[in-house]
């Protein structure tokens, strides 16, 4: 502890020797030399200039005084800025990272002495700098609109800051997607999906901007609710950006590293913070239904984590095993934060169980007004039971019959299992000419998607019973494997003078 404090102190005392992250310098140099950035910036400025000109010339023909000209111009600039920064910057950064990060032959910068955290942070900072460049170019145009009336300066700067945060978050998501170990065609598909997704982001950004313009941020700033909303938005944005950051760092870390630890620690910390905030909200409002704001995102993240977890290899690399603590007690805690499907399953299961338990306890003491019945709790439990049943079945199939295939096959199997169970009954009914809305809305045990289409609520209990039974059976079948993994979670035995084999002379 003292050493760490000393290190931090020395770092700050030595501030004159500080240097920029090498990745930022490299990326910015490349950005400056690249025609893509320069060209896009020039085009952006031309569009801004022509738009201003069109508004001013249009107004000069109008005999009536327009008290909203500034507001109208500002709205157009927001659309242009949002379009340019949400489309272009994440795409540019994503393509740059993907070009360096090839599946089989990563660039040597990923194996230099730079840590994965510094590399990803450098990429992220570079995206933020480029965004800042675009925002700086746009800011004089936007500030100018204040003189034409219809928008106040706090609104201008607030919307710019709001937009900037969104661009930084999308930039981080693009970097994460570029780091995914996928072939180029798949990455190209992601680019297309991201392109369409951007429309949604831009539309919601424009909608929020209009809302702020109408209300006037200057007037809203005095209210406490406004700041609560701002802090919540910034907090959520930071949490999402942070999540994609740790995921990207894990992806570029060497396969022999303990990639799971930072991700699981981060998610656990955010989950805990989310609970505290949500519980505080429940205390303030007295409505236990607010817990769903914590319960639902946890559920979604855990389902994705489950898929990733079962795609992990069982064997830990030497480098990772060397970091396993010697103490048995510490080993128990460490188990859930290390690579490997067994530890991951325990972590996901534990997180979900505590989430449901905590939500249920809160509901015992507070009235639930936002959601009328306990259905949604059953829905969570049933879906979670199905997810675990699919995952454990996939693991079992992979272990018994496909052990020579890479572990990611288990994740794929789980998805296929869920999909097949959902589609095959309908396909069968189609061929026997009995497919109808009634059959789709009827009971299909084993099909998790059937839960959302059920006509009769009473059938949900049957689903819960079926999913739980399946889960328990498959859990028992997986138990020997699980305990084997637990037993194998040991640091390697080091050869010392005492236990080394005798030297024959």
């Amino acid at each position: 502890m003292t050493a760490t404090i000393g290190k931090i102190k020395a770092h700050f005392l030595n501030w004159r020797a500080w240097e920029f992250n090498p990745i930022v310098i490299k990326e910015l140099r490349q950005g400056v030399r690249s025609w893509t950035v320069t060209g896009m910036l020039m085009l952006f400025l031309v569009v801004l200039f022509l738009t201003s000109l069109a508004f001013l010339i249009g107004q000069s023909f109008d005999v009536n005084e327009n008290m909203q000209l500034g507001g109208s111009m500002f709205s157009s600039f927001v659309v242009i800025l949002a379009g340019a920064s949400v489309f272009f910057i994440p795409l540019y950064m994503g393509v740059r990272v993907a070009a360096e990060r090839q599946e089989n032959n990563p660039d040597l910068l990923y194996v230099s002495t730079l840590s994965p955290t510094r590399i990803i942070f450098g990429k992220f900072l570079c995206g933020a700098y480029i965004a800042l460049l675009f925002f700086s170019a746009c800011m004089p145009f936007m500030a100018f609109t204040n003189l034409l009336r219809g928008v106040d300066l706090p609104t201008v700067f607030f919307i710019l800051a709001f937009l900037f945060l969104v661009v930084c978050a999308t930039n981080m998501i693009a970097i994460f997607l570029a780091c995914l170990p996928m072939s180029r065609p798949f990455k190209f598909l992601f680019i297309i999906a991201g392109f369409f997704q951007s429309f949604g982001i831009i539309a919601s950004l424009i909608g929020s901007s209009y809302m702020f313009m109408r209300s006037g941020v200057g007037a809203m700033m005095a209210g406490r609710d406004f700041w609560i909303g701002v802090v919540t938005f910034v907090g959520l944005g930071l949490a999402i950006t942070g999540l994609f950051f740790v995921l990207a760092v894990a992806l570029i870390s060497p396969p022999s590293a303990n990639r799971a630890r930072p991700v699981r620690l981060y998610i656990t910390a955010i989950w805990l913070l989310g609970f505290l905030l949500c519980f505080n909200w429940v205390l303030k409002t007295g409505d236990a239904g607010r817990m769903v704001a914590w319960q639902f995102p946890t559920f979604i993240v855990m389902m994705l984590a489950l898929l990733v977890t079962i795609s992990n290899a069982d064997l830990l690399s030497l480098r990772v095993r060397r970091t396993i603590p010697q103490s048995k007690l510490k080993q128990m805690f460490a188990f859930v934060f290390y690579n490997g499907a067994a530890g991951g399953l325990l972590w996901v299961g534990g997180m979900l169980a505590i989430t449901f338990l905590a939500s249920s306890v809160v509901q015992l003491f507070f009235i639930k007004t936002t959601v009328p019945t306990g259905e949604e709790k059953d829905w969570f439990t049933t879906t979670a039971a199905y997810a675990f049943a699919y995952a454990l079945t996939a693991l079992l199939i992979h272990r018994k019959w496909l052990s020579r295939r890479p572990p990611k096959i288990a994740g794929l199997l789980a998805v296929l299992l869920a999909a097949a169970w959902a589609v095959l009954p309908s396909v069968f009914l189609f061929f026997v000419n009995k497919l109808s809305w009634n059959s789709v809305e009827g009971l299909q045990l084993g099909n998790v998607f059937n839960l959302f289409t059920l006509r009769e609520d009473s059938q949900r209990t049957l689903h819960l019973l079926f999913a739980s039974s399946w889960f328990f059976v498959i859990l028992i079948l997986n138990t020997p494997w699980f305990f084997r993994q637990l037993r194998n979670f040991q640091p390697p035995i080091r050869v010392t003078a005492e236990n080394s084999p005798p030297v024959l002379k």
Partner: protein, 313 residues
């Protein structure tokens, strides 16, 4: 600096890429790493450079384990991969400067290091050129410069001469010899074995992940060819006597596998130096007008062909 590869073993699924190999080399030496495609050379080199982790075994760089302390090991090893740098929108100088920064060089020290490397690898004239616009030879120099910019003690070069023209190959060879003089421990793999013979002090021959031969070039030559091959050449006007000479040699003791090779008679000598003298004496006594009687020089290529079977995993 001592590089010790100890019982290195690497598996990719069911494929054994490197099968329990051990060898070592030292500062000031160039060590050749030879084997057919798929023999496990690149995997071994990537493990030494901390890019891959072995399934078992270890590599010690002056006692620093690449498994235990990869971050520390990375500071003493420079890796030149078989792929060339292909970054877009970056000049040679910026590229070298970036890697100097990445390896923690600061301020003036970094500027000096980059300039020194640009001079050493002779890229000063192209320092402002874009990487993408460079020829293969120039890219190889930049790649070497990148690996040397933080002054590592060990240099691992994977097929550095592949695809280079003869001039670029000669220049690369000269650079490597200079580096050996500067007390770097160099491990180099190449398919151009005749060149390796000229610059390597030692060699490891690997096939199917296993070491077939290892040692100094002389040791390996001796081991792989216990019998020396002697060439006899007659006066140009007496080449018609070659058949008689061949017949004569076949009847002489300590001579095996005599054959005509491009107007010379080659045979394998099974005896010692005095046996060679006796053979020459007998030829002169039989009035053969011998102009050359010499031991043929075997190179790495001959050894490679002798010891490998061309198998891959």
């Amino acid at each position: 600096m001592k590089v010790q590869v100890k019982n290195l073993h690497k598996e990719f699924g069911k494929t054994v890429a490197v099968d329990n190999i051990s060898f070592e080399f030292d500062s000031g030496h160039v060590f050749g790493f030879v084997g057919p495609n798929g023999a496990g050379k690149t995997t071994t080199m990537r493990i030494i450079s901390t890019i891959e982790e072995p399934t078992s075994g270890d590599v010690l760089l002056n006692g620093v384990s690449v498994c235990e302390e990869p971050e520390l090991a990375r500071r003493v090893v420079g890796y030149v991969p078989d792929t060339l740098p292909a970054h877009a929108d970056i000049t040679v100088h910026e590229y070298l400067d970036f890697f100097a920064r990445a390896y923690g060089l600061r301020g003036k020290k970094r500027t000096q290091a980059v300039e020194a490397i640009e001079e050493f690898t002779n890229v000063i004239g192209i320092r402002e050129k874009h990487l993408k616009a460079l020829s293969k030879g120039m890219k190889q120099r930049v790649s070497l410069g990148r690996a040397l910019v933080y002054d590592p003690d060990v240099l691992v070069l994977d097929e550095p001469a592949a695809g280079l023209d003869p001039r670029a190959r000669v220049e690369l060879r000269e650079l490597l010899m200079l580096l050996a003089e500067r007390k770097k421990a160099i491990l180099i793999s190449s398919h151009i074995l005749t060149e390796l013979t000229e610059i390597c002090n030692g060699v490891v021959i690997i096939e199917r992940g296993k070491i077939l031969e290892t040692g100094t070039i002389e040791e390996v030559l001796k081991k792989s060819t216990p019998r020396r091959t002697v060439a006899v050449k007659l006066l140009a006007s007496e080449l018609h006597q070659n058949t008689a000479l061949l017949k004569q040699l076949l009847e002489t003791p300590h001579v095996e596998n005599a054959r005509d090779v491009a107007n010379e008679i080659h045979f394998e000598l099974t005896g010692d130096e005095s046996a060679a003298c006796d053979i020459l004496d007998s030829l002169v006594a039989k009035k053969f007008r011998v102009t050359e009687f010499r031991q043929t020089k075997q190179n790495l290529e001959d050894i490679f062909m002798n010891v490998t079977k061309g198998g891959v995993q």
